[in-house]
């Protein structure tokens, strides 16, 4: 099952330790994690399910290309990293 890791900066707001997800796309895998921790969802994606502008998701080190629908494929042994782009002061 794919492993999902969230940026440490998110831990301050919602507890989200590394975990295993289910599914074959980024949307499915993240959705399975959000189902366990509903409050997490709004921190990563907006109200329409698109990745928030300053968030980034990497699958096995490659940034996802479909930020709106998160349709990028995830393999059974993949690692999904939910990171943030740096901005602001």
């Amino acid at each position: 099952m794919p492993r999902v890791v969230f940026t440490a900066n998110l831990q301050r707001h919602v507890a989200c330790p590394p975990s295993e997800g289910e599914g074959a796309t980024v949307r499915e895998v993240l959705g399975s994690v959000f189902a366990r921790t509903p409050r997490l969802e709004g921190y990563v994606v907006d109200e329409h399910g698109a990745l928030r502008p300053h968030m980034a998701v990497f699958v096995d080190g490659v940034a996802v290309s479909d930020r709106a629908r998160l349709s990028d494929a995830v393999g059974p042994g993949s690692e999904v990293f939910v990171m943030q782009a740096l901005s602001g002061g």
Binding site: H13, G42, R52, H54, M55, G88
Partner: protein, 368 residues
């Protein structure tokens, strides 16, 4: 009389209380986080705070114990736009159907326990019937075709920043938009009227200057004891209404300048109002580097410039639209600045005390 202030800043929410030694910060909540607005609900004592986490989006929190603990509640969310629907502002930018910022948060009437109103960027108005556990977009306003002519003032997109619930008839609500004018409902939001005849937009071509839809309202307040009285700080001036916001009269004599963001009205006397002027729209600093408050007590016939206790030497504090507050007596006011100063008066502005000059940039001040 209130002894407690909620001060929302770029780096946290500060509870300021009047203790034995005067006004001082009593507690910091959400330290390090961007708190754009806070509100204390007089009906049940609940406190609300709006946070903008940037990367992680906009959040709302509620406290039932005056800020000792907070619980995250729901935020207003925009629906999916209809399939194929596309709307653009006059600059050609696509208007997002997404929550960008919580920019107004007000309790409903005393007869509407649990009801809250929330104004947002990009312009949506929402209500909650359950203390923020869930929110509903006011479609009658959002779907009005004129709403697509709203546009950003300082921000990229239109913002709904002022919500005035009529204290004598809580079904009557008046809102103001930057930019988008003043709108009013008499039926709890089922239908809306664009009001605000007499407002004038200096920045528009002459033939559109008096179009109520084109007005960049910076802040609108309503007198609790006399709900027909409104005061309005506009991008290019100050206006007053005595007929429930149907029509406004321009006030050109506010010293030392008619530009500014904030306005407060006396809770019992509709003729008394306060402003925190800045030089002009392209120079958003105090006139001559002196922080002052302008006060009228006679319905704008005359004004006083209040400066006792305020910095008068190379002070460049700017006060934003939600950063001037008044308590229920009208004696106590407080205002904060983008350079982190906070001042309080207990005599209607005759004398001011400095609470701090070292807070993070202040976005909003409110008595609890």
């Amino acid at each position: 009389m209130s002894d407690t202030l909620l001060v929302s800043t770029r780096k946290g929410l500060f509870t300021v209380r009047r203790g034995a030694k005067g006004w001082a910060v009593d507690r910091a909540s959400f330290l390090g986080d961007n708190v754009t607005l806070a509100m204390a609900d007089p009906r049940d004592g609940a406190w609300y705070a709006a946070l903008d986490h940037g990367h992680f989006g906009v959040k709302l929190h509620r406290s039932g114990d005056q800020g000792a603990t907070w619980e995250e509640i729901a935020v207003p969310v925009y629906p999916e736009p209809p399939e194929g629907h596309e709307e653009k502002d006059w600059m050609g930018r696509a208007i997002p159907w997404k929550l960008i910022r919580v920019w107004a948060l007000e309790p409903g009437g005393a007869d509407q326990p649990g009801r809250l109103w929330c104004g947002t960027l990009p312009g949506g108005l929402f209500w909650s019937e359950d203390r923020g556990a869930s929110w509903t977009l006011v479609r009658s306003l959002w779907d009005d075709p004129r709403r697509q002519q709203w546009s950003g003032g300082g921000a990229d997109f239109a913002g709904l920043h002022s919500i005035c619930v009529d204290p004598k008839d809580s079904r009557r609500v008046t809102i103001a938009v930057s930019t988008g004018g003043v709108w009013q409902t008499a039926d709890l939001g089922a239908s809306w009227t664009l009001v605000g005849q007499g407002l004038r937009a200096e920045y528009m071509p002459p033939e559109q200057a008096h179009d109520p839809l084109q007005q960049d309202v910076h802040r609108l307040v309503q007198c609790p004891a006399a709900p027909e009285a409104f005061w309005l700080q506009h991008h290019n001036g100050v206006f007053r209404s005595t007929d429930g916001a149907a029509t406004f009269e321009e006030i050109t004599t506010v010293p030392p300048a008619v530009f500014g963001f904030a306005v407060a009205v006396h809770p019992k006397d509709p003729r008394t109002a306060w402003f925190v002027p800045a030089q002009k729209d392209e120079k958003r600093i105090p006139v001559e580097g002196k922080v002052v408050v302008a006060r009228t007590r006679d319905g704008a016939k005359t004004f006083e410039v209040l400066r006792a206790g305020l910095p008068q030497d190379h002070a460049y504090d700017l006060t934003l639209r939600h950063a001037l507050a008044i308590d229920g007596t009208g004696d106590r006011l407080a205002f904060g600045s983008t350079t982190g100063s906070l001042w309080v008066t207990e005599d209607g502005g005759d004398r001011w005390q400095t609470v701090s000059e070292h807070l993070p940039p202040v976005y909003a001040v409110r008595f609890a």
